[in-house]
């Protein structure tokens, strides 16, 4: 039997994150969602259908939107650039398009509760109140590059590069203090 030897960037902060829900009376919950499978998918218009078929999902073509297919979520990052979250297994084999497993590249921090948007407004220039449902965006949160995606009613997933995770967690914990 193999032992799970993984160590997530924010595993040591689980207790601090849990305290936030207590502190805010449940208005804000923060938790790391580690080891989320992430595939970076690149495909031109000619290979879009082939990529979607191989991956078994639909790839959004509207900028900054998300399409969920079963347990897979496809985030639009650019005209030929997607991030597919969820699922499992090895990298699929692309033909005429590209794919890279980047599961360990970023960790996910999930913020939820009615105060989540207000907290992010301290470091994010986007109008998160008016994003609607199933949106995503590549932007800056404080001084870290992040991929944000929103899921109704009040959940926002922050995908942050592993090396920036510690900084961003410190920033979030500090911002919560000011709430």
């Amino acid at each position: 039997m193999t032992v799970d030897q993984r160590r997530s960037p924010l595993g040591g902060l689980a207790e601090e994150f849990a305290q936030i829900a207590v502190r805010t009376g449940g208005r804000l919950r923060i938790a790391e969602q580690p080891y989320l499978r992430q595939l970076n998918v690149r495909a031109g218009a000619d290979a879009l259908a082939a990529a979607a078929a191989t991956l078994g999902l639909a790839l959004p073509t509207t900028p900054n939107t998300v399409i969920r297919t079963g347990d897979l979520t496809a985030l639009w990052l650019g005209p030929d650039d997607w991030l597919v979250l969820g699922g499992q297994g090895p990298e699929p084999t692309p033909v005429g398009w590209g794919v890279v497993d980047v599961s360990a590249q970023r960790t996910a921090i999930v913020l939820s509760g009615p105060a989540a948007v207000g907290l992010l407004a301290h470091g994010c220039a986007l109008d998160l109140e008016r994003m609607g449902s199933d949106w995503c965006a590549q932007t800056m949160l404080a001084r870290a590059n992040v991929v944000l995606s929103g899921f109704p009613p009040d959940e926002i997933r922050v995908l942050v590069r592993a090396s920036f995770a510690s900084y961003l967690a410190s920033w979030l914990l500090d911002a919560v203090m000011a709430m």
Binding site: R6, R7, P94, V100, Q105, A121, A142, F164
Partner: protein, 868 residues
């Protein structure tokens, strides 16, 4: 008697909450709701400052942010320099001092928190006067629109329309493109020492608005007359505000000096409060005036007005209330790109159209302002040097006339010559007065002369507020590797490489840096050592045209690389100068893994994307950063193979099965891994890559597996020494953007075929092809214990002789070396390769150190050690 000038029942201060404060050496009381200025006036104190250059006593001129005169130093609870007494709210324990121009900053760090927030709205209304509230109510009536109403004053009992988000004590300080406005909210300043520590003291609001309504009101103007800066002289509207808002009488017997009709309303209301008022009007046709067609020709009293000479008479007064008309507050409008036009009827500038979605309402648009001519200018006289235009800068009419006399015609030039309008108040009450003075001197009009440009910020903003929470540990993002905690626990100091924190060396008990690095170097050369190389930039390049693409970017050919093989590569800029170096590994027929230097990872990816998107969009290639997908540990030294064999029993590690410059997929310490046989030290070395989340486990497994062999973790300093001994350059340290691959001794990495690559044409220019360029060479000081300074200049002779001294180059890297048993350096030296064996001189602390020029490869030039 306490607060002798407090009216018994007027004003909105809370008389049930008396507050004690100190100003200078006097302890006084005020009420909740007072500003420092209103509380001082209630106590009969007018003199609150001295002027910056002349040291003249100065008083309180206004009741708001436009205050040009009453600048004070706050001492407690936390020192703050140069605040206007008219905007500081009084609290228990406030200690303030009069200032002469400049204040002092606290020597200790500010313990208060500051923060910033972004806000978005469909409508932003600036100013919660009657016009602003009406505009906000109107906007809020539209379904779903988010309306923010910002007001610089404390909360007032006025009605806030439903659905409007009101920000009080908040001043919009800047108006930028795309309706982006910045405001400062003072959240706990007014609480003094009682302010909760966890709450941000001030908050910076960055507001993006669909449209903006400016209801910013108007600032009253002064009229120039001799000694118009004496304490007790203030704007008429300010006297009214002190009565209405704070229940404070600014005097008992007042002269109102005016050129417009607002004076009469002020006079009536002050008379109603028990003040004796005489109105002197500069206009001859002023039937309601006590003294029509009057000129105020002199002021009596030094530290406080005691009388005036007006219309040929002398009057005993303790206050002079001046109104020279009103200037709509159009600072933000002007910052937004709004045009202004001079209105002769109002004697003021009015909004005249803007490219942004902004409208101006109320007094800011001139609504309700009195008809008013330009300020009456005194005839030139001996008193010009005491007739002030800008109180804070001590600028008088005499100085403005001196400027125009010197030939200056533009108000912008006059501003710079006299400094008028450059103080904390940016000439809010004096700007148009300066223009009128210039106009009078030039025989022109204020309309023609105009006013100086309005620049943000509208009011002074502290650096602490701008910094917000981006200070101390959050000043910048610190990027950490997955093995960071181990380095930290082991006591490693860290070196900043870009935003990365890299372990520098690992001192054992009592070791200094030199001892630790010597030990680490020895381990890598004679035993086994390991380093966290996770920060190395990594880019996945895939697609049918990936090989072709890399051929175009690297100086050497990559498309011929076999699957499983690795090649060193150099990239040039268009000018042929080295941009980055690294390795390229072929993973499959149409997939490569490229490594970059730590500091250049993002720049290389940008470079690739730029070429793909702008020049070669037809190439089917996709580049993806995988820097943080992989944690990398370099396992180095003659003992490396044994340690790897122990943790990767299924991997054939012998030199025939796994030769130099190859990679293999393998299971290492039970973890899926990709192992590269590449070396940045010249020793047998493996770079083991695992998923980032496995990096810590890999590190620990290697430490355990190598324990018997004395495996030694090493940091970036040892890495630098090892690579320098082998003459491997570091881009950015041994290069500076003027160095070609050949200059570095990398001519072998430039392809001989005619196939093009970025920078190729530049490399054939006569200047880049000449043989006497600066070359990377080694330097050995004659004294083997002497360490050259990086950056030291190199010359060919001693003594230097008369200048100019021919300069031959500089030291780029310099280290003591345990492997060489001496110090050594790398240097860029003119015709360096032709000088090998020659004696040159390096400058160290002003003396010339003899050095011998050698090959840049000082250790194991045959490359005998790379296979262990």
């Amino acid at each position: 008697m306490s607060q002798p000038f407090r009216h018994p029942d007027r004003g909105r201060v809370d008389r049930t909450r008396p507050l004690t404060f100190r100003f200078g050496d006097r302890t006084m009381t005020g009420f909740a709701g007072d500003t420092l200025a209103s509380a001082l006036l209630a106590n009969g104190v007018h003199e609150v400052a001295r002027s910056v250059n002349l040291g003249r006593p100065r008083g309180i001129v206004t009741a708001g942010v436009e205050e040009p005169s009453a600048v004070v130093q706050i001492e407690a609870p936390f020192p703050e320099p140069m605040l206007t007494a008219t905007t500081v709210e009084v609290y228990d324990g406030l200690v303030a001092h009069p200032l002469r121009g400049q204040g002092w900053l606290a020597p200790e760090p500010d313990s208060a928190r500051y923060d910033a927030v972004w806000a978005h709205c469909e409508v932003l209304v600036v100013g919660a006067g009657a016009a602003g509230i009406a505009a906000a109510a109107d906007a809020a009536a539209s379904t779903g629109d988010r309306v923010i109403l910002v007001d610089e004053r404390p909360p007032r009992p006025s009605e806030v329309p439903a659905g409007v988000r009101l920000l009080t004590r908040t001043t919009v300080v800047g108006y930028y493109d795309d309706n982006f406005l910045v405001a400062v909210q003072r959240r706990t300043n007014h609480l003094g020492a009682a302010a909760p520590l966890e709450q941000a003291r001030e908050r910076l609001w960055r507001i993006r608005a669909g449209r903006v309504v400016l209801a910013t009101g108007a600032h009253e103007r002064l009229i120039p007359f001799p000694d118009n800066d004496r304490p007790g002289i203030m704007l008429a509207g300010a006297a009214l505000a002190y009565l209405r808002d704070y229940g404070v009488l600014v005097g008992r017997r007042a002269l109102v000096y005016t050129n417009n009709d607002t004076a009469y309303r002020v006079a009536d209301e002050l008379r109603g409060a028990g003040v004796d008022v005489v109105v002197a009007d500069t206009r001859a046709d002023a039937p309601a005036a006590d003294l029509p067609g009057a000129r105020l020709s002199g002021v009596l009293g030094d530290r406080r007005v005691t009388g005036v000479r007006v219309a040929g008479r002398q009057l005993d007064v303790d206050a002079v209330l001046v109104t020279g008309g009103f200037s709509p507050v159009l600072h933000l409008y002007s910052q937004a790109g709004g045009r202004l036009r001079y209105d002769d009827g109002l004697g003021a500038l009015l909004p005249d159209g803007c490219r942004q979605r902004v409208e101006v309402v109320g007094a800011a648009a001139g609504v309700g302002l009195p008809r008013c001519g330009p300020p009456p200018m005194p005839e030139p006289s001996d008193a010009d040097g005491r007739t002030f235009v800008d109180l804070q800068r001590d600028v008088t009419i005499a100085e403005v006339r001196r400027a125009t006399g010197a030939g200056l015609r533009s108000v912008e030039h006059v501003k710079r010559y006299t400094t008028a309008g450059t103080a904390h108040d940016q000439g809010k009450t004096s700007g148009l007065l300066t223009s009128a003075t210039v106009a009078a001197a030039l025989g022109s009009s204020a309309a023609e002369v105009g006013v100086t440009t309005f620049r943000p910020p509208y009011v002074p903003v502290s650096f602490a507020t701008l910094a917000g929470r981006d200070r101390d540990d959050l000043f910048d993002a610190a990027r950490l590797t997955p093995i960071h905690d181990w380095h930290l626990a082991r006591g490693a100091p860290f070196e900043n490489v870009g935003q990365w924190k890299r372990a520098w060396y690992y001192p054992r008990d009592g070791e200094d840096m030199a001892a630790a690095v010597t030990r680490e170097c020895r381990a890598a050369r004679t035993g086994v050592a390991m380093m966290d190389a996770s920060t190395l930039g990594k880019i996945d390049v895939q697609g049918p045209d990936a090989g072709e693409f890399l051929d175009r970017l690297y100086t050497n050919v990559m498309s011929t690389l076999a699957i499983g093989a690795v090649r060193y590569g150099v990239m040039c800029r268009l000018d042929g100068m080295v941009f980055d170096d690294g390795t390229v590994a072929r993973l499959t027929a149409d997939r490569f893994l490229v490594t970059t230097t730590t500091g250049n990872a993002a720049a290389v990816l940008d470079w690739m994307e730029e070429w793909l998107q702008t020049e070669w969009p037809h190439l089917r290639v996709w580049c993806t950063s995988v820097t943080e997908q992989w944690a990398t540990v370099a396992l180095v030294g003659p003992g490396a193979r044994g340690v790897l064999a122990r943790v990767a029993p299924d991997l054939a590690v012998d030199v025939e099965s796994f030769p130099f410059m190859r990679w293999r997929d393998a299971t290492v310490a039970g973890l899926p891994a990709r192992v590269f046989r590449i070396s940045f030290s010249g020793e047998l070395a493996y770079e083991i890559n695992v998923a980032t989340w496995h990096g810590y486990a890999l590190w620990q497994a290697l430490m355990t597996a190598g324990a018997d062999a004395g495996i030694t973790p090493y940091g970036t300093e040892t890495m630098h020494v090892l690579r320098a001994e082998k003459g491997y350059p570091i881009v950015g340290q041994d290069t500076d953007g003027t160095v070609t691959p050949d200059d570095l001794g990398l001519g072998w990495a430039i392809r001989k075929s005619t196939k093009d690559f970025v920078g190729r044409r530049s490399l054939s220019r006569p200047d880049t092809a000449r043989s006497d360029r600066k070359h990377l060479v080694g330097l050995l000081p004659d004294d083997p214990t002497l360490l050259l300074v990086e950056g030291a200049h190199i010359v060919g002779h001693t003594p230097l002789g008369p200048p100019p001294v021919p300069y031959l180059g500089h030291v780029t890297s310099s280290y003591p070396s345990v492997a060489l048993g001496r110090t050594f350096a790398l240097a860029l030296v003119t015709s360096g390769r032709q000088r090998i064996g020659e004696r040159l001189y390096a400058t160290v602390n002003g003396t010339l150190i003899p050095v011998e020029v050698t090959s840049h490869v000082l250790y194991d030039p045959e490359g005998a050690r790379r296979d262990g």
